[in-house]
Each structure stands twice: as structure tokens, then as C-alpha cells.
């Protein structure tokens, strides 16, 4: 008789339960909101032990908090990482990852097709702190390899580029990073772990803007970095923050002390302690509510998105129609169609971009005619959203950078929500008619 397989809780169950042990004192089933700045020490010895990392526990909610910790552990479980650090926003998550890995003199190789905020941080702000970034076409593997320098400490890209929807070849780009002795960090916000678990494909670190599909209700800003625990910092030799004694914490050497969890522990012990971009317990609670239904919502998002894409394809075929082009990785003419089928078999997210005939003016008439879609700067809400990236999220970029980011003047970005898809299609139909009228 064969040995019984080990049983592991599956994704939908983890979405509801991971990270939580119901409070034994109150029996509260929902995750309690621990709205407290600080936590009682049992005695002086206990206090000293916590501060000296001799034993785990909560001290102060900037560094850790029980409500936030449930979300962190849940996201780690869903991604298959050794742990997570939640942050005030997705941008704080990216900053935290960079600050944990490098200081002045460090270099990053990043996809040119990034969320505008990430692009701003890497391209304009971090150089002021001595950290430079080379941007490359995410589909050009040779360009990734060519951009690596001796001082490169990180390779960074989005699983689904924003807003161009390039699908990152995670196995190939992680190989480029690993050959250079550096980790691959991916922003998996558009995919969520329901659609893609990047650590399984070779990524070492994953970040999210929890504000989007993880939270899913447009109520709370938050971010997370998940440590895959796979990268061998010691063998690389390029990460003294993780492999050499840290005077800021009693000479601790994080790789020696925590092995696969070295990055995770340093990111919290230094990154949250000193930079302080922590997530509030209330936001963690709100995002946890979202994560509970993540698989169900993602199934709904994908269902509606496929219907809307089908509608836009039909409009594209109309000679007098207002749709100039449609971009979604499941479409046969998308350059990453085959890769998407491999890495995102459950669906390619709920962002669709398309071109409105009539350029900027046509796009404006279209957006202003929409009634069900909300015109705002967010994605991943349960409600359907629309924006014109060239004049908003990516407005800081010059024409060349806009082109490199795949943002055209005529581009409209939709974030497909959970309304009845017939209502969404009716709304799009009438707005396209309005755009075409001129």
C-alpha cells in the first residue's frame, strides 16, 4: 500500500482561513481588528527578549500587528512564500523591497512597461538616492541580459504590464536574473495568486498593491512583499544587508540566523522599523474581507472580461465602429498569447485596453458618455472602472517613455468589474456610439 499523500488546504480554503487561529479567549470567528499602537510586555525580561529578536512577538504596530499578521500570513500561503510584509501601499512595498536589497550605488533592471507610479519611483526618484534603473522592453530577453551590470541588485517587472498587458516570461527572465546572481521581483497585482503564482515559475519575491483585486472593493490602500525564500543570498555574495552583521540589530546576520526567511526578517526588522510605511490594522481587516472571496471574485472578473473582450472584438470588425484595436493576452493576435496560456491558464486578469478612434477627443467623448463604468484612477475594484492613461497615470512620461510603456494617445484602459456583463456591454455600446458621433 502506498503512503497516503500529504493533505494541504487548497486555494479557496486558504483564502478564507490561512493565517488565522480563532481567538481562544473570545471565540471571535472573524479576524479581530487589533486597533492598538503597542502591546504589553509580561516583564522586563520579555521586553528585552522581544527587542533583541530572542523570541517572536508584537511590540509596536509599525513593526507588526496581529491583524496585519493574519493578512501577511494569508498572502504568503496563497503565493507559497515563506512570509510576507504588508505595507501602507503597493508603492511602499516596492520601496521596501528595494531598500532591503541595496543602497546607493545599486542598480535595477526593470521592464519599461510598468505602472506609472513604479516608473516614477525607479526613473525619477530613486536616482536621487544613488539607485539607478535601466528600463528594457519586457519581451526582449536579450535586452534584459544586456542591461545587467556588476552593480545590478534586482530585476523587476510586472506579471501583466500596466497598461500594455505584456505577459512577463517569468521562467526566462528569472534565469537572466539568477545567472547574474540577483533576485527577480515581480509585481503580481494584475494577476493575483488566483491567476498566477510567480514563485512557482522562478520569481524570488512578489509584490502586490493589495488596494486592487486582493482588497477588491475600493476601500483600503495597502501593499505587500512576499518572500519566496528561494534565493540564495549567501551564494550570490552581493547582498551584505542579508549576509553580513547589521549593527542596527546587535550584529545580526539575517541569512545565518533565519536561512530562507532572511529577506523577510530584514524587511520587517529594518524596513518597517526605520522607513515606517506600515499597513493600518483597519486596512488589513478590509483587505482580508476581500481576500476571503478572492477566488470567487476573480472567476467573476474573468467571466465578465471575456464577454467584454468578445464584444470589443465584434465592434472592431464594424467598419463604422469606434474601436481601433483591442489588447487582451487571450486574443489570438496578442504577441504573448502562447505564454499567457502557459502562465495564466485561468485567465489574464480583468484589465482590457483598446483604442478609440478619433484620438484624444474620441477617447474623451467615450469616457464621459459611460454611465456604469466609473472614471477614476484605480483598477481591481468590484465596480467597473475606466481611465485614459496618457493624461493621468502615465502623464509624467515624455512621448518616448510613453511609447516604451506602450501607452498611446488613443488608449483607454478598462478594469472590468462584477456587474452583470450585459449592463457593461450596453454601457460600452452607447458610449462607443457617442464617441463615433463626434
Amino acid at each position: 500500500m502506498g503512503m497516503a499523500d500529504a493533505k494541504f488546504l487548497k486555494f479557496d480554503t486558504l483564502s478564507l482561513h490561512a493565517g488565522q487561529r480563532p481567538d481562544p479567549e473570545t471565540g471571535a470567528r472573524a479576524v479581530p481588528i487589533h486597533m492598538t499602537t503597542s502591546f504589553l510586555f509580561q516583564d522586563v525580561d520579555h521586553a528585552a527578549a522581544l527587542f533583541n529578536l530572542e523570541q517572536p512577538g508584537h511590540i509596536y504596530s509599525r513593526i507588526s500587528n496581529p491583524t496585519v499578521a493574519v493578512l501577511e500570513e494569508r498572502l504568503a500561503a496563497l503565493e507559497g512564500g515563506v512570509g510576507a510584509v504588508c505595507t501602507a501601499s503597493g508603492q511602499a512595498a516596492l520601496s521596501l523591497a528595494v531598500m532591503t536589497l541595496m543602497g546607493a550605488g545599486g542598480h535595477i533592471v526593470a521592464s519599461a512597461s510598468l505602472y506609472g507610479g513604479s516608473r516614477n519611483l525607479l526613473g525619477y526618484t530613486l536616482p536621487r538616492f544613488g539607485i539607478d534603473t535601466s528600463f528594457v522592453d519586457p519581451r526582449d530577453h536579450a535586452a534584459w541580459r544586456a542591461a545587467i551590470r556588476p552593480e545590478t541588485r534586482l530585476v523587476f517587472a510586472e506579471v501583466l504590464g500596466n497598461p500594455g498587458l505584456e505577459v512577463l516570461d517569468i521562467p526566462a527572465i528569472s534565469a537572466v536574473a539568477h545567472d547574474a546572481g540577483v533576485p527577480l521581483l515581480v509585481d503580481a497585482t494584475f494577476a493575483t495568486p488566483y491567476l498566477c503564482r510567480p514563485l512557482q515559475h522562478g520569481a524570488d519575491l512578489v509584490m502586490h498593491s493589495c488596494t486592487k483585486w486582493l482588497g477588491g472593493h475600493g476601500t483600503a490602500i495597502g501593499g505587500a512583499v512576499i518572500d519566496g525564500g528561494t534565493f540564495d543570498w549567501e551564494a550570490s555574495g552581493k547582498f551584505p544587508t542579508l549576509t553580513e552583521p547589521y549593527a542596527g540589530y546587535h550584529g545580526i546576520d539575517f541569512a545565518e540566523e533565519y536561512g530562507p526567511a532572511a529577506f523577510l526578517m530584514r524587511a520587517r526588522a529594518e524596513g518597517l522599523r526605520d522607513f515606517g510605511a506600515c499597513m493600518s490594522p483597519m486596512n488589513a481587516f478590509q483587505i482580508l474581507q476581500g481576500v476571503e472571496t478572492l477566488p470567487h471574485r476573480m472567476r467573476g472578473h474573468i467571466h465578465n472580461t471575456r464577454k467584454v473582450v468578445g464584444f470589443l472584438e465584434t465592434e472592431l470588425g464594424r467598419p463604422d465602429g469606434a474601436v481601433a484595436w483591442v489588447n487582451y493576452p487571450e486574443l489570438a493576435d496578442h504577441p504573448d498569447h502562447a505564454l499567457a496560456a502557459e502562465l495564466l491558464p485561468r485567465g489574464c486578469g480583468s484589465i482590457v485596453s483598446f483604442g478609440v478612434r478619433g484620438g484624444r477627443a474620441g477617447g474623451r467623448r467615450f469616457i464621459e458618455a459611460l454611465k456604469v463604468f466609473s472614471h477614476l484612477a484605480n483598477v481591481g475594484d468590484a465596480k467597473s472602472l475606466v481611465i485614459h492613461p496618457a493624461s493621468t497615470t502615465h502623464a509624467q512620461l515624455d512621448t518616448a517613455a510613453l511609447a516604451a510603456s506602450g501607452v498611446g494617445e488613443d488608449m483607454v484602459r478598462l478594469s472590468i468589474g462584477l456587474e452583470d456583463c450585459d449592463d457593461l456591454i450596453d454601457d460600452l455600446k452607447q458610449a462607443l456610439r457617442a464617441a463615433a458621433k463626434g
Binding site: 496581529p66 501577511e72 504568503a76 515563506v82
Partner: protein
């Protein structure tokens, strides 16, 4: 720190304090396929409570050189050789699973050298299923899945990690995946082959505690109690809601148990 034992480099983590042979010494012995980080939630705590701690990477594991030794007896003798190399006459031994068998065997074979014994996740016999042995012998990834799947209790499978933000089960998976090829197979084989626990238990002559998880499905607490009954004066600490990966599932009780059997420092 690095120690030379039988011409091989041995790595020991000392918990943020320099090794001091004048203090009571505690040697921490990890389980199959693991390394010193199995004790990362105990090492600093103990080192700051009067013990000189050595959380070892056994031969062929972690940062140590050499190849994994093939029997519990060889490992027990190797521990004595390590103490010789350090000039340490007596030490408290703490071991988890395979490491617990080594500690127990060392306490019997080298009675005068062992001042205290803390055995985690241990039983009289540790038979390993032939399927798992076969998978581990050929480095199949499923072997790690079986060890963590059966090894962790609810804090690993569901959550409530003692370390904020850490997911215990994936962390344990990564630790085992980081082992060198063949290591897990050798370790599980020597656990499976060891039949000396009953005899060794009768020879133990030092303060002893067995730390058992009431949800341990690899070395069930009942089997641990049976072993405890054969060790004169042994105490059992049964931890509720804890599986086989005791030190990460219940870090502070684990650390206190070790301190409890160690001699008090000057």
C-alpha cells in the same frame, strides 16, 4: 562560528553571543534534511540566558562540510568528537526528531559528557514509510511535500504563526529544499534503521525532558511517552495543537524546555 571536527569544517550558530566554554554549553541537533535554522527561534533566547549555544549544521548539512553520516551511532560519536574539539567536558544536548535520536544515543554512549537532555518529536522507533524513503533516496520533490505535509500541525497548515508574517509550512519546505542532494534520503534511512532507543533510554543518567506535540503525526505523543517511561526521572512536556515541527510551532515553550534541563551557570 566554524569548528574543525575530524578535519571537516563544522558550522555552529551561537545566537549572537561569542562561544564561551566557561559557560554551560548547549548543543542543538537538527532533524532530517534541516540545518541550524531549525532552532532559529531558540538560539538567541538561550544564548542570552546564560548558556553558550551551538546550533549545529551536522556533517553534510547547511554550512558544514563533509557528507551526512550514515547511522545514529556514528552521529552520537561525532557529537562527542565535537565536544573534544571544543575542549568541552559536558554539554546539554537538545535534538529534534533525527537529532533527538542522536542526542539520546550520545547520552547513553557518552554518559559523562551529557549534562542534560531535551528531546523534541521523538519516539522509541521512527519507522519511515518505504515510499518516503524511496522518494527521498532519489531526491524527488514529493519527499519534501510528504515531510512538511505530515510534519506540520495546524499552525503550519492553517496559520497563526508565532512569528508575525511568517508562513511556517512554506518556510519549512524551503529549508528542506535547500538541503544538498541525497541528504534527506540518508537522514530518513538512519532514523528508520535505528533500533537502539530502548537500550539507550535505560542508560540515560541526566535531567531529561521530552517535548511532544499532541498533534504530531510523525512521532505521535503516545510513542514519545512510551520512550519517556524508560528514562529515569524524565519529564514530558506535551504541547497542545502542535505537530512534529515543534520548535517553530511553539518557540518559547521549546526554548524554556532546553533551559530547564541545562545546568545553571556560575
Amino acid at each position: 562560528m566554524e569548528i574543525r571536527v575530524r578535519d571537516e569544517a563544522v558550522y555552529a550558530h551561537t545566537g549572537g553571543r561569542d562561544f564561551d566554554a566557561a559557560l554551560p554549553v548547549a548543543v542543538l541537533l537538527h532533524g532530517a534534511g534541516m540545518d541550524h535554522t531549525a532552532w532559529s527561534l531558540q538560539t538567541r533566547w538561550l544564548a542570552h540566558r546564560g548558556l553558550s549555544v551551538l546550533a549545529l549544521d551536522l556533517p553534510g548539512h547547511g554550512r558544514s562540510g563533509g557528507v551526512p553520516l550514515a547511522s545514529v551511532g556514528e552521529l552520537a560519536d561525532w557529537v562527542a568528537a565535537l565536544l573534544d574539539a571544543l575542549g568541552v567536558e559536558r554539554a546539554t544536548l537538545a535534538g529534534h526528531s533525527m537529532g533527538a535520536l542522536v542526542a539520546l544515543d550520545a547520552a547513553a554512549r557518552h554518559r559523562g559528557r551529557v549534562a542534560g537532555l531535551a528531546l523534541f518529536g521523538v519516539a522509541e522507533r521512527m519507522p519511515v514509510h518505504p515510499d518516503l524513503l524511496a522518494l527521498a533516496a532519489t531526491d524527488q520533490p514529493e519527499a519534501v511535500e510528504l515531510v512538511v505535509g505530515w510534519g506540520y500541525g495546524p499552525r503550519g497548515h492553517v496559520g497563526g504563526s508565532p512569528v508575525p508574517g511568517m508562513a511556517l509550512l512554506p518556510a519549512g519546505r524551503r529549508l528542506l529544499q535547500a538541503a544538498r542532494p541525497g541528504v534527506l534520503g540518508v537522514d530518513l534511512s538512519l532514523c528508520n534503521a535505528y533500533g537502539g532507543a530502548v537500550e539507550a533510554a535505560a542508560a540515560v543518567a541526566c535531567p531529561t525532558v521530552l517535548v511532544l506535540g499532541d498533534g504530531d503525526r510523525m512521532t505521535p505523543a503516545k510513542a514519545g511517552r512510551a520512550l519517556a517511561s524508560r528514562i529515569a526521572g524524565a519529564r514530558v512536556e506535551l504541547l497542545p495543537g502542535v505537530g512534529h515541527m515543534i520548535m517553530s510551532e511553539a518557540p518559547v515553550p521549546s526554548a524554556r524546555a532546553i533551559l530547564g534541563v541545562a545546568p545553571k551557570g556560575a
